[in-house]
């Protein structure tokens, strides 16, 4: 979404592929090279490599404890892997704090909703614009010039997202009063407000009923289609994953056991074994 991202996409224009429904997938946005993550003696991620391309919906799936969320946390900079490197927009990413990663255009939602419960939906989404506000504390305090102008611009951007995700009716409602499905949607809205180059969704559909899931799927696809946002998502619901994503990484016990289009993955021996449950040595 931001300028740097656009520029990279242009340089990789001749790479990539076109999906069945006519979306253009660009070159490599981010590449994981031999990532290994350990917590003490426990190896959460073992020598994993895969790439994420501009404009695609990339899913990471796997049974419980496979290391999916750890992987997402590595991408978002919450964990720093002991081995391996992350190539992002063509450069090797140095060790970063999560807020620094966020500034490079990566936004995420959480498996357990992490919104400010006492604040209104609008204010929550506005917090997603944090990186787009440059006015200093003094300017904010006297509410003059830059501060008020920025507020207006950001509000405009937020209103577009509110309209897009169809949450106008809860704009002024405190988040604590919302049902679960809507909270999830607000979280997505907040992540989108950051205008991310890469959007990370950690189980966006966990705990939803069928109707809410359908809505969420539609929103994820529309976001990808409308804003051309590269999306990485973790999901348990296999049906959903296969319908939504362009390419899927399958993990089991910290290892990558499959990578490819939904159809390829579905027919992958290893994957079938992992999902049917075969005894591990």
């Amino acid at each position: 979404m931001n300028e740097q991202g656009e520029a990279m996409r242009d340089t990789d224009a001749n790479e990539g592929y076109v999906t069945a429904d006519g979306r253009k997938i660009g070159g490599v946005a981010m590449e994981m090279k031999n990532i290994t993550l350990r917590f003490g003696g426990v190896v959460a991620i073992k020598d994993i490599s895969f790439d994420i391309r501009w404009g695609e919906v990339r899913a990471i799936i796997g049974p419980n404890g496979a290391g999916k969320s750890s992987m997402l946390n590595v991408i978002s900079g919450f964990y720093n892997p002991q081995e391996g490197e992350i190539i992002y927009k063509g450069y090797r990413r140095p060790r970063m704090r999560p807020y620094q990663v966020a500034r490079t255009g990566i936004a995420r939602t959480f498996q357990n909703i992490a919104l400010f419960e006492g604040m209104s939906v609008l204010d929550n989404i506005m917090t997603g614009r944090l990186h787009h506000m440059k006015a200093n504390m003094f300017q904010q305090a006297i509410w003059w010039g830059k501060a008020s102008r920025e507020e207006q611009e950001n509000r405009e951007a937020v209103e577009k997202i509110i309209d897009f995700l169809e949450i106008q009716h809860i704009r002024k409602t405190p988040v604590a009063r919302l049902p679960y499905g809507l909270k999830k949607r607000v979280e997505l809205a907040r992540a989108l407000a950051a205008e991310p180059s890469i959007l990370l969704l950690d189980e966006p559909m966990a705990g939803m009923n069928v109707e809410e899931k359908e809505d969420m799927c539609r929103f994820i696809l529309d976001v990808n289609d409308e804003f051309n946002t590269t999306t990485v998502l973790i999901e348990h619901d296999m049906g959903v994953v296969m319908d939504l994503s362009d390419r899927v990484v399958v993990m089991d016990y910290g290892k990558k056991i499959g990578d490819g289009t939904p159809d390829e993955v579905r027919n992958n021996e290893e994957v079938i074994k992992a999902y049917l449950g075969v005894a591990h040595d």
């Binding site: 509000r155 405009e156 209103e159 106008q168 009716h169 704009r171 289609d225 409308e226």
Partner: protein, 660 residues
């Protein structure tokens, strides 16, 4: 009474909606014509801007090849651009056909095929998807346009356009097509079709009601004058565009008087938007007024005791004084002062919260409104009135003039409308708004509208001495009692259902000497009463059989009898005996329709033993009823029901004494 002949000369230059638009742009150019909330802000368009937008759209339609007499379907929620699409279609000589946006594809297929729509204007992707589905069977559709671009990028656009693009092309084609458009607009006369609206049709297929410019414009003129509507008035357009009322309010009257039409942000934000706009002219079905009142009452229960006391005290006062003040009846100075204080503390802030503070005229119609609900709004000083109408009449048949508002009548005939009562009690009307015909359906036209122009409404009613019409029931449900007097079950049932404790009731008495009733208690209301009074119950059946519950219901029935007795014609419909059913009437058991209307005949057959008992002299009856559970299993419900005698009043009471 004004007739068409008298009014038409004045309409010479104003014989179509596009002509009215041109006049408004000239006369009220800088005043706001439309407002829509988008991205959290109210966007507005003046009449001049509206004229320019409509013109661009009309030119775009011409460029796409829209011909005179084409039918243009419009599907979507209330948005300015869709209203403009209707006027733009009229400008090129085509006929707009607004459809219900929540209709499923099959329902749409029938209507689109029936009118042979060449163009379909959709609100968003959802509607486009349905139209594409319909196109598999309906071949007449040539062009689709959509308003909301979202999600539309991937569609095949060879015969599809974004409305904005159509307008852009239209602007570019001004020089090429401008003269043609002006010519087509000038051709329009009062006799041209203004709009075609499909009636939902409870029986059989929907019928396309053809309404001419004369129908719409004369009706709009008369009704606007009746309520002194003026430029600067505000309405909220939130009811389906396919409904005749929306067309009259948001297009007919709005263009005639030049007032502003406000479109909400989305269906769910309606109440917030209502508050922000504060309309001066408002229509809502009884259900919406009921919901608003319930919300107020629930929130008052949560208020602090002091506030609650002030509220109830003030409302008590308002009930006595408010309606009188509205009607301009004399009220003592003390009461006026107290009302002013109440207005400061309660009524004003409350009306403000509801968004009804600026209301000059509000209407409700469609079904009977509960007297308490009606009185509540009237006592707040909101000029809520009732009207009676239908699509075939361009809405207005009767309406209540200011100062003559009552809960149980629907008012006097609207200006220009003649109303008569048929021999069987059915209401007939004749008016300048009377529809031209049903599209492609001369038989139905002939059976509904006689050669002299009288239209049968299908409703039974009568005129009171005050000249006000009262609607009793659907004409086919009205029967006769053994002594020949009128039997109108729905009338009595509605009165019963106004009590919160009574969910449903079925009154019997056709061809009998007296009326009896089945009652269903409202589990929510009675259950919460039981809870508050520490009365234990384990099932609906048990609750329905409690003595104290029966006592309460008996009181309600007797109150209804007392009010029915006041009616000379219907006093025989008082309920002599009743019982409270041991189960709720249920659509799963076929006793109701899915829209929760009682299937009288089936109930009558199924509970024949209970009806016999009601006409017998026993005090209780044992019965077994087959029920269907939600998973489809069947079971039997056994119960012994108590039958109660209710006190009757007036003439009926005398007869009863005589009979005994």
């Amino acid at each position: 009474m004004t007739t068409t002949a008298e009014t038409s000369p004045k309409l010479d230059d104003l014989c179509s909606i596009p002509a009215l638009l041109a006049r408004n742009a000239k006369r009220y150019g800088m005043q706001t014509a439309y407002r829509e909330k988008e991205f959290g802000i109210w966007q507005s368009w003046t009449w001049t801007e509206t004229e320019a937008e409509v013109r661009a759209m009309a030119l775009g339609f011409l460029a796409l090849g829209m011909a005179r007499g084409d039918y243009v379907a419009i599907i979507g929620r209330n948005r300015p651009a869709l209203y403009w699409a209707m006027v733009a279609a009229q400008s090129v000589g085509a006929i707009p056909v607004p459809l219900y946006q929540d209709a499923v594809a099959e329902e749409m297929a029938y209507v689109l095929d029936h009118c042979g729509a060449r163009f379909v204007i959709c609100g968003d992707q959802e509607q486009v998807d349905k139209v594409i589905e319909v196109q598999e069977t309906v071949k007449c559709i040539e062009q689709i346009a959509y308003l909301d671009k979202r999600g539309m990028r991937k569609y095949d656009h060879s015969k599809m356009n974004w409305l904005e693009d159509i307008m852009r092309e239209g602007r570019a084609a001004e020089t090429r097509l401008g003269a043609e458009l002006d010519k087509r607009k000038a051709e329009l006369t009062l006799d041209h079709t203004c709009v075609m609206l499909y009636t939902s049709g409870t029986t059989g297929k929907p019928k396309g009601v053809v309404l001419s410019n004369r129908n719409i414009i004369v009706t709009s003129k008369n009704s606007s004058e009746f309520d002194h509507l003026k430029p600067g008035d505000e309405i909220l357009a939130y009811l389906p565009m396919a409904w005749v009322g929306d067309f009259i309010f948001a297009i007919g009257q709005a263009y005639w008087t030049g007032f502003c039409v406000n479109c909400p942000e989305s269906a769910q934000t309606m109440l917030t938007d209502l508050r922000e706009i504060g309309p001066t002219y408002y229509f809502a079905p009884p259900r919406i007024f009921e919901n608003m009142l319930t919300t107020v009452m629930i929130r008052m229960e949560d208020a602090s005791p002091l506030k609650r006391r002030i509220f109830h005290h003030s409302m008590e006062h308002a009930r006595g004084v408010g309606p009188k003040l509205l009607d301009g009846k004399p009220v003592s100075v003390g009461a006026k002062l107290k009302y002013a204080l109440g207005n400061l503390l309660v009524y004003g802030p409350l009306k403000d919260t509801l968004g009804l503070r600026r209301i000059r005229v509000a209407y409700t119609a469609g079904e009977a409104i509960g007297p308490e609900i009606f009185e509540f709004y009237r006592s707040l000083g909101i000029n809520l009135k009732q009207l009676y109408g239908q699509t075939e009449a361009s809405v207005f048949i009767t309406q209540q003039p200011d100062g003559e508002v009552r809960n149980d009548t629907v008012g006097v005939p609207s200006p220009g409308v003649e109303v008569k009562i048929g021999e069987n009690g059915e209401v007939f009307y004749r008016s300048p708004g009377t529809f031209e015909s049903y599209y492609k359906n001369p038989e139905s036209t002939a059976s509904t509208k006689d050669p002299e122009g009288w239209v049968a409404t299908g409703d039974a009613g009568f005129f009171e001495e005050s000249g006000h019409l009262r609607i009793i029931d659907r004409a086919k449900d009205v029967g006769k009692m053994a002594d020949g007097s009128m039997f109108a079950p729905k009338y009595v049932e509605n009165k019963l259902k106004f009590f919160p404790n009574i969910l449903e009731s079925v009154v019997f008495g056709n061809g009998r000497d007296r009326c009896v009733a089945f009652i269903n208690i409202d589990l929510g209301a009675v259950g919460s009463w039981a809870e508050r009074n520490n009365i234990a119950y384990s099932s609906y059946q048990e609750l329905a059989g409690l003595k104290r519950v029966l006592d309460t219901i008996q009181e309600h029935v007797e109150q209804v009898n007392e009010s029915v007795a006041e009616d000379e014609m219907l006093s025989n419909c008082q309920i002599h005996r009743f019982l409270v059913l041991h189960k709720e009437l249920d659509a799963d058991d076929g006793e109701m329709t899915r829209t929760r209307k009682v299937r009288r005949r089936i109930v009558e057959e199924k509970y024949a033993d209970l009806i016999d008992a009601l006409y017998g002299d026993k005090d209780e009856i044992y019965t077994e009823t087959e029920v269907t559970y939600e998973d489809g299993r069947k079971g039997k419900l056994k119960a012994t029901l108590e039958i109660r005698d209710a006190k009757v009043f007036g003439r009926a009471a005398g007869q009863k004494v005589a009979a005994e």
